[in-house]
């Protein structure tokens, strides 16, 4: 016996939140792709996708697939966007404790 059955064909795709960190819907992504923002980096700059606390772990694949589907381009052409350090978020205090320098010492800009 099946449990609760969701009719997937009735889900309105457009309202699906593709990037949970930045609360961006598939609808928004589709609109921007159609207006020429057809690389991951450009969508990132415009809507913030990929720039949330998870750094795109939750949304990059879905968005790349959507770009590929709408433009007919391969993943290579779309570009995965740049991965930036730190790989995992790290507390300011953790790095401060590890750093012995006084931030004001010897840091005067030359002009």
């Amino acid at each position: 016996m099946a449990g609760i059955c969701i009719d997937k064909t009735k889900l309105d795709d457009d309202d699906v939140v593709v990037c949970r960190c930045k609360e961006v819907t598939l609808k928004e992504i589709r609109e921007w792709i159609d207006r020429g923002y057809d690389t991951f980096d450009e969508l990132k700059r415009l809507t913030g996708v990929g720039m949330g606390a998870c750094q795109g772990r939750g949304c990059r694949d879905i968005i790349m697939k959507e770009i590929a589907r709408r433009t007919g381009k391969s993943f290579d052409e779309i570009g995965t966007g740049t991965f930036r350090p730190p790989v995992k978020p790290v507390k300011l205090g953790t790095l401060t404790a590890a750093n012995k320098e006084d931030p004001w010492e010897g840091k005067v800009v030359s002009h």
Partner: protein, 382 residues
């Protein structure tokens, strides 16, 4: 046969190129083509701190800063798209007597030009920036109309408005050469084909000097790596103004989405254009963050990156037309303030190209000032 032809070719899809292209079309230039070797906003603009301010130390920059604030405050209406303007003010922090004296002199100049900035007490500074701890500072100045705008949205807003006026954008297209005939610009050569045009505007950001070299113009310019980082979003109100100090060598600010962005200049300007991320920067900047905002120690850093400052000998931009090549115009070398100035310099460059003169004087920013020894000494520059 040329691949395309244009009235003006703009090289570089950063904020300067997009703002200039928009203003050219607005002034009636029919066929403007903007060429970007990567994607739009992939250069310095998309990597910048995006601070905007009128707290400068020369009359020229105060006037530019004020003009930009006037434009920024109406930009969403003009371009039909939000630019993420956030006027939390700039709170300048001085740790040295001489530095504070300079800030006070700057305030005097600013006030005489209609900028309503002023010296604030430590208590006032702590009210403006509730998370701040700066008992070791000697003095503070503040201007409420300063702040920042979203660098991506600002650039895209200019691009969208420019497109509506007929500007053509070619991304993933690289300019590889410029052909000159009888002292005039003739053709722009790209990796996709040739574009015939009588006018070129060089807004190539960190590659400004390389594009100038395509018409045999050697400029005393270099690009320099600057690091920057951002935290996870936290409750608003931690650091509403842009905190900035010349002797402390930092700028940092909380953005409307709750994240805090901050960076510093490399020590001694090492002429280093390597954009790889450095751990030493993260360590140093974390110490700066927690010293200034002690309650921020449990906030997590999510990302660091780096971008290029395009530096001239006096850290001021180069604007104007090449002396030996008619039709080759320059707008670059903005050091750390090319985002904030784009609304006004984009407009002035479009005026220069279409009318041969400008609403505000820019002749002092021609590159011939280096040969003539007429450097612009701006005390309030990073």
């Amino acid at each position: 046969m040329a691949w395309k032809n244009a009235d003006v070719v703009v090289i570089g899809g950063g904020v300067q190129g997009c703002a200039s292209a928009y203003n050219l079309a607005k002034l009636g230039v029919k066929k403007v083509i903007l060429i970007e070797k990567n994607s739009i906003c992939s250069g310095s603009t998309g990597r910048c701190g995006a601070g905007i301010r009128a707290q400068w130390g020369t009359e020229m920059n105060c006037r530019f800063g004020l003009a930009c604030l006037d434009i920024f405050e109406n930009l969403e209406e003009e371009l039909g798209m939000s630019v993420g303007l956030n006027q939390g003010g700039y709170l300048m922090v001085a740790y040295k007597e001489s530095e504070f004296d300079q800030l006070k002199a700057n305030i005097k100049l600013q006030n005489s030009l209609g900028i309503r900035s002023g010296v604030v007490t430590r208590e006032e500074a702590y009210t403006i920036c509730p998370g701040l701890s700066a008992d070791d500072a000697l003095g503070f100045t503040f201007h409420q109309r300063d702040g920042h705008a979203d660098p991506f949205l600002t650039t895209f807003a200019y691009m969208e408005a420019a497109k509506r006026l007929g500007v053509e954008f070619l991304k993933f297209t690289e300019v590889t050469a410029i052909k000159v005939e009888k002292g005039r610009v003739k053709t722009v050569v790209t990796d996709k084909g040739e574009i015939d045009t009588a006018v070129v505007l060089n807004t190539a950001g960190g590659f400004f000097q390389d594009v100038a070299a395509m018409v045999d113009l050697e400029l005393p310019i270099h690009s320099e790596n600057h690091d920057i980082m951002v935290t996870e979003p936290v409750e608003p109100g931690v650091c509403p103004p842009m905190l900035m100090s010349f002797s402390g060598n930092y700028y940092l600010q909380q953005r409307p989405d709750g994240t805090i962005v901050g960076g510093c200049s490399p020590i001694g300007h090492p002429m280093d254009s390597d954009l790889r991320s450095r751990f030493a920067f993260l360590e140093h900047m974390s110490s700066v963050f927690t010293k200034l905002l002690p309650r921020a120690k449990d906030i997590r850093i999510v990302r660091q990156w780096a971008g290029l400052y395009n530096m001239s000998p006096d850290c001021q931009p180069i604007l104007g037309e090449a002396e030996h090549v008619k039709g080759f115009f320059l707008s670059g070398a903005y050091s750390g303030h090319g985002f904030m100035f784009a609304p006004i310099t984009g407009k002035l460059m479009a005026q220069l190209i279409t009318r041969g003169n400008t609403d505000m004087p820019i002749h002092m920013l021609h590159y011939r000032r280096f040969a003539e020894g007429k450097l612009i000494i701006e005390p309030a520059v990073v």
